[in-house]
């Protein structure tokens, strides 16, 4: 690996100006990018924009209405954050299960999003939490709902002159879970993941969002299953019905990590486990 001279901005403003250059790729923890570059000797090699020193986008903040996560916040920091444990337990759970201690100490939430993998473990929690992303260039800023950010495997609406500058999560008093399956518990990319966020009042499901990872070209919502569950009280029968419908909402493929048939079945199993966890409190 031999790369052109990297850009090392000292401020977010400088970083955004630098991002407008040709063939510039932002690097934070490097746990995806350096793996991709490892065996790549073709031209042109990207100019790396090293974001490590930008403290302004490396913090978690809370206001009355929302929690804001800087894109440089690492998986380890998410895992340990009391704010996120209280308001986004799905996210802290997902962060704690990814990679290894070494990877979690470097990997960032911004990188997990920008990398755009349908198996990115922080994405399905952010879907069910209704997150939105602040995308900035040196000239403008826009807010994009997380469900509009991804357009295919490795493809997002982030423009070449933009950086993700914030991840915003509305404060919800929700029950939730994140469950995943992978070949081993550590250092394995998810074959399937299921995240959910529920608001339950007087035993009835008042609001529900379910998102599935690694079973479609992007993370997807399981809207038919959500509709089935909405307004109902959780019971073994309702959970069984939901688990059977959700299998048909997954659109997985066969690949090196798993096969479509198994993934469909496991989507149902994970939903069942998650909902039973809530039912049995």
């Amino acid at each position: 690996m031999s790369l052109p001279e990297p850009l090392i901005p000292k401020s977010l403003g400088d970083a955004l100006k630098a991002k407008a250059g040709k063939n510039v790729v932002a690097i934070a923890g490097g746990t995806d990018i350096l793996v991709k570059l490892h065996d790549r000797f073709d031209d042109p090699q990207p100019k790396l924009l090293i974001l490590d020193h930008l403290k302004a986008i490396h913090k978690i903040a809370i206001t009355k209405k929302e929690v804001t996560i800087g894109p440089l916040v690492t998986f380890s920091e998410i895992e340990k954050s009391d704010i996120l444990k209280a308001h986004a337990s799905q996210l802290t759970e997902a962060a704690s299960l990814a990679g290894s201690t070494q990877i979690r100490n470097r990997a960032t939430i911004g990188g997990n999003l920008a990398n755009g993998s349908p198996a990115g473990d922080l994405i399905s929690p952010l879907y069910v939490l209704g997150a939105s992303l602040e995308l900035s260039s040196s000239k403008s800023k826009r807010i994009v709902p997380i469900e509009e950010f991804f357009i295919g495997p490795g493809k997002t609406v982030l423009k070449s002159n933009e950086l993700i500058t914030a991840i915003k999560i509305p404060k919800l008093n929700n029950h939730g879970f994140f469950l995943r399956l992978a070949t081993r518990r550590a250092l394995a990319i998810s074959k399937v993941s299921v995240a959910a966020s529920l608001i339950i009042e007087n035993k009835k499901i008042e609001s529900i969002k379910i998102a599935l990872g690694a079973v479609a070209p992007t993370v997807i919502r399981a809207t038919r299953t959500e509709e089935l569950l909405l307004g109902k009280a959780l019971s073994p029968q309702v959970i069984a019905d939901a688990a059977s419908i959700i299998k048909e909402e997954a659109r997985p493929i066969d690949d090196i990590r798993s096969n479509a048939l198994y993934r469909k079945e496991m989507v149902g199993v994970l939903l069942k486990r998650g909902l039973e966890g809530i039912l049995n409190g």
Binding site: L3, P6, L34, I50, Q102, I103, R106, L187
Partner: protein
């Protein structure tokens, strides 16, 4: 691959390595792993997979275990780095208690994973000097061993935990 090709862009970085202040000009697209081994001659940190899966290159940066193969030299500017070479006290003719426990428990067979295993063990003890087996396994989940089957390594960490004192760990965060 061309080594020390000075046409490569370089960067001036300052860092502490095993308690010693360094001020070096480093190739900017080199990983910390390559820089340690090929530029500084610190070959105790092993090069295994180079993609963050095996943990053989685990070093401690600012108190946290990380894969040296996934960090570029500009990213260690200002950092405090510890490698296996700095684990035993400088000048002392004695191993660190964690290294002793690895020897006593036969936790090193071929030895290739040992430096990384020991750095991950130090990082675990910095947070929790009395871990249970589940916590030990979780802390070492990013370090692969293809000889021992892990039993002796977990024994060694348990044994080291019973012997370790605050003094044995202090330098890794200072």
């Amino acid at each position: 691959m061309v080594r020390n090709n000075m046409t490569e862009p370089t960067i001036d970085i300052r860092f502490y390595l095993n308690g010693i202040a360094f001020n070096r000009n480093a190739p900017a697209s080199w990983t910390l792993l390559r820089f340690l081994r090929d530029a500084l001659g610190y070959t105790g940190t092993k090069c295994g997979c180079e993609v963050g899966e095996c943990g053989a290159c685990t070093v401690i940066v600012d108190g946290q275990p990380v894969n040296a193969c996934l960090i570029l030299t500009p990213q260690i500017d200002g950092a405090n780095i510890w490698t296996i070479e700095g684990v035993a006290a400088a000048g002392a003719n004695e191993l660190h208690p964690i290294q002793k426990a690895f020897l006593e428990c036969d936790a090193a067979h071929c030895g290739f994973c040992s430096p990384g295993m020991i750095m991950s063990t130090i990082a675990l003890f910095l947070k929790n000097s009395n871990p249970d087996d589940a916590q030990i396994k979780q802390a070492l989940a990013g370090n692969l061993c293809r000889c021992t089957g892990y039993i002796q390594i977990i024994d060694a960490v348990r044994k080291a935990a019973s012997k370790i004192t605050e003094n044995d760990l202090q330098k890794f965060v200072s």
